[in-house]
């Protein structure tokens, strides 16, 4: 019965722990490993213009759907302007307005984004476009090309590719040449391609954006072609006809409208500056959580003051040490002094590092023991004797620190980090065992303690584990579940296999 309760409880704890863990990891984007840095790009568009005499209204297309990227934050800097966000046919538009302004004005819009492969944003499925109104002789040219391309293609994608290939042909056929006669820029070219796709009743639109890389000033917006195949939008390189979207292509806006429209101003200049920065993933998860209103972050350790965080980074490793302790004692069966003494020693090892930790611990215990044996002759009562041992331990720590400092070994100073009360109790218990059961038993239990402490330390010193437990404290629920299960482990301890070996032959 108890067995079942323990199993159910352990299952529940594991379930809750893993659910929280997966949620924080997958949804909130808490990083699994330490120092996981993510590139973030800040794209700043500055719009400057000469103000006219009357009121001024500035409309700027800003990013709406950005596949492959997520927005970290965005803001606008514009002194004295009223600001609003609108949804137009091409996506979001930022609008600044002011009653009157003097001289040359500059308005900034800034957006910070980071790459996220999985960022798929739902886009609308467009209706079939109406047949475009085109004048002769262009009309015939369009019809001829569309008919020919349709002959040589199977579906929307291959149609687009074939169309772009024909339009890009270095020696175009007369129809294409006619259509492209007015084309002066890439934008015009994509415009023509969109019109022809519309003639074939294929929804298509121009997208414009940048390939983000490092630091760029005066970044140019490149036109790209987006075609809907009835199921989803697909991207085509207008210069080659290949279906692709370059890595880190950040889409600023869609459609063939002007990027910026300034009412009441003249001599408009738009400039884009791109800057790359590295932010640690925690920071991103943090602001992402803040944006989505997830309270999970409020309850994470990262919301605590830094000093407190440092304390918890250490404290949270104690359960790991305790788990190692459970395994070593109940499943392996190693003898050790005190229930948690090895865990606390392991904690001190974090500061002293392993080799020095073992040396200092052994020296301290050896010196303490010899003085304890001297005390034995004084026949002191229990509590005064324990206190005497404690004082001796403190003095020994001081002595070790001073001597090692004089000898230029600064590691010796870290002896002060050993839990002195625990050491004093260990010395006392070891001396009692020594007297009553002999040196062998005492040394074996002492060595067992050191061994368990070492193993616990090796686990507690793992940076990735510390990060994991600190970022996902709910994992400790799983550790708790494991400890509960170990509490109902009724199988043999590993060392019992040797102990009872003689009985296997009977």
């Amino acid at each position: 019965m108890t067995q079942r309760y323990v199993f159910v409880l352990a299952m529940l704890l594991t379930l809750v722990g893993s659910a929280l863990f997966v949620y924080k990891w997958q949804v909130l984007g808490f990083p699994l490993s330490e120092n996981q840095e993510i590139s973030v790009w800040t794209i700043e568009s500055s719009i400057s213009f000469e103000s006219g005499p009357g009121s001024i209204k500035v409309n700027l297309h800003i990013p709406t759907l950005t596949p492959g990227f997520r927005t970290l934050n965005e803001n606008s800097v514009s002194r004295g302007y009223g600001f609003s966000l609108n949804y137009g046919s091409g996506g979001r538009e930022a609008q600044w307005a002011i009653r009157r302004a003097d001289g040359r004005q500059t308005i900034y819009y800034r957006i910070t984004v980071y790459e996220d492969e999985g960022s798929e944003q739902a886009d609308t499925t467009p209706p079939f476009p109406p047949p475009p109104a085109i004048n002769e002789p262009f009309r015939t040219a369009v019809d001829v090309i569309v008919a020919e391309v349709r002959e040589h293609s199977a579906d929307t994608a291959s149609f687009t590719t074939e169309l772009l290939r024909r339009l890009n042909d270095p020696s175009p056929d007369p129809n294409a040449e006619l259509l492209l006669s007015d084309v002066e820029s890439g934008v015009d070219f994509v415009d023509v391609a969109t019109t022809m796709l519309a003639a074939a009743r294929i929804p298509a639109r121009m997208v414009r954006g940048f390939e983000l890389s490092g630091r760029q000033r005066n970044a140019d917006l490149a036109p790209w072609l987006e075609v809907h195949d009835g199921d989803r939008w697909r991207f085509f390189d207008p210069t080659t006809g290949e279906e692709n979207l370059p890595d880190r292509f950040f889409i600023w806006w869609r459609g063939n409208e002007q990027l910026v429209n300034v009412d009441g101003g003249s001599d408009v200049e738009v400039d884009f500056a791109i800057q790359e920065a590295h932010l640690d993933a925690i920071g991103i998860a943090k602001s992402q959580a803040a944006k989505s209103g997830a309270t999970m972050f409020d309850f994470s350790l990262y919301s605590l003051p830094i000093q407190t965080q440092a304390v918890y980074a250490v404290l949270l490793m104690i359960p790991i040490g305790a788990f190692v302790m459970v395994v070593m004692r109940n499943i392996v069966g190693i003898d050790a002094f005190g229930t948690f003494m090895p865990v606390l020693i392991a904690l001190a090892f974090r500061e002293t590092k392993l080799v020095w930790g073992i040396v200092l611990f052994s020296v301290l215990i050896a010196l303490g023991l010899s003085i304890r044996f001297l005390l034995e002759r004084l026949r002191l009562l229990l509590v005064p004797r324990l206190s005497a041992v404690l004082i001796v331990v403190v003095l020994l720590m001081l002595l070790i620190s001073l001597v090692s400092h004089k000898m230029g070994m600064e590691t010796g100073l870290s002896v002060a980090l050993f839990p002195m009360v625990i050491i004093a109790m260990t010395i006392e218990r070891m001396s009692v065992v020594w007297e009553e059961k002999g040196a062998v038993d005492a040394l074996r239990a002492g060595g067992g303690s050191l061994l368990v402490a070492t193993i616990a330390y090796i686990f507690m010193d793992q940076g990735w584990l510390e990060h994991l437990v600190f970022t996902f404290p709910e994992l400790l629920l799983i550790v708790l579940a494991l400890v509960l299960l170990a509490g109902r482990y009724t199988g043999y301890r590993l060392l019992e296999l040797g102990r009872f070996k003689a009985l296997t032959n009977s």
Binding site: R379, L382, E436, Y492, R493, E496, A502, L503, T504
Partner: protein, 323 residues
């Protein structure tokens, strides 16, 4: 590794984890522990139940009473000083006599002479809790020093040879004789180097001995054969052990007895967490006997009936049949 575990399982060997989780935690409610952890209380309960125990000369339960020590032992040549809540035989002084020259000097079982002051210091340590299981204040008991029956004289090196019977739900389950050696410093604890010898429950005859984890035919110090010793009043020993269940209420119990030359078997102490070495001493596991008892369990059976069932079920011949 798993092969060994499987073989042990087949041999019915009980492991520490299983003992703790399945028997001690289930059958030994913690509130009953004082009945065995406090030997003064054990003695009182055992006396009330009519079980034989060594006479109690006096109890010293505070530092001020230590001066009463001389008064308590005034009429006794030999006696034992022990902590009421000690474990593993620690903190026990066995005084076998007084020094001929000085009345206030005593001779320990090892032959060493000890002064009254030293004994007083030892009592003071006991009272302040040095030997108590939990480190809390303790009582020092001063009681009758057992004059051992010569039955085990040949196979003991000084110290206190005793008989340990494991009693499961009131049924004697397994027994062994613990024989002190020079290495165990006169103590009867197996992990301190005493020899353990299994006992055929049916006949009360010792089997081969075990030292640490090895089989031994002879006592390492005296060279005498260990097997084949017939324990006197075996019936009475088994019945007394079975009665320990009524006295303590503990379903998984170790009863330690000694045989006094004059007074016969006496109960020294009882243990709520008896060790598992008894399996090595008997060359067989506890689990099979435990499940047999579960089959035969009868809540109304008297200690004598339960002892009789144990004798019937757990003979060595029967063990061979089971294998």
């Amino acid at each position: 590794m798993f092969g060994t575990a499987r073989k042990l399982r087949e041999a019915g060997v009980l492991g520490l984890n299983e003992r703790n989780a399945e028997f001690i935690m289930r059958l030994n409610p913690r509130r009953l522990y004082p009945r065995v952890d406090d030997k003064a209380l054990t003695k009182k309960l055992a006396l009330e139940a009519g079980m034989p125990v060594p006479d109690l000369y006096g109890i010293i339960d505070n530092q001020g009473d230590i001066r009463r020590f001389a008064e308590i032992v005034a009429d006794h040549e030999s006696f034992v000083v022990k902590p009421a809540q000690g474990s593993g035989g620690e903190g026990i002084l066995v005084i076998t006599g007084r020094s001929k020259r000085k009345r206030d000097s005593f001779r320990l079982s090892s032959g060493v002479v000890i002064t009254e002051d030293e004994i007083a210091h030892h009592i003071s340590n006991i009272v302040s809790g040095q030997y108590s299981l939990s480190g809390t204040l303790d009582k020092a008991m001063i009681e009758y020093c057992v004059h051992f029956d010569p039955i085990f004289a040949e196979v003991s090196y000084q110290g206190v040879p005793d008989i340990r019977v494991i009693v499961y739900r009131g049924y004697p389950t397994m027994a062994m004789v613990r024989l002190p050696t020079r290495a165990s410093d006169g103590k009867a604890n197996l992990h301190q180097g005493a020899v353990g010898a299994g006992v055929d429950i049916a006949r009360g005859v010792t089997l081969t001995g075990v030292l640490k984890n090895d089989l031994v035919e002879e006592h390492p110090d005296t060279g005498a054969l260990i097997a084949g010793l017939e324990i006197p009043q075996w019936d009475f020993i088994l019945e007394s052990a079975a009665r320990g269940y009524e006295v303590t209420g503990l379903g998984y119990l170790g009863v330690d007895m000694v045989i006094d030359a004059d007074r016969g078997p006496l109960i020294l102490e009882m243990n709520a967490r008896p060790g598992l070495n008894i399996q090595i001493a008997n060359g067989t596991g506890l689990s099979k006997r435990i499940s047999r008892i579960d089959e035969l369990y009868d809540a109304g059976a008297t200690p004598a009936e339960r002892a009789a069932i144990a004798r019937r079920e757990f003979s060595v011949d029967r063990q061979l049949q089971m294998l």
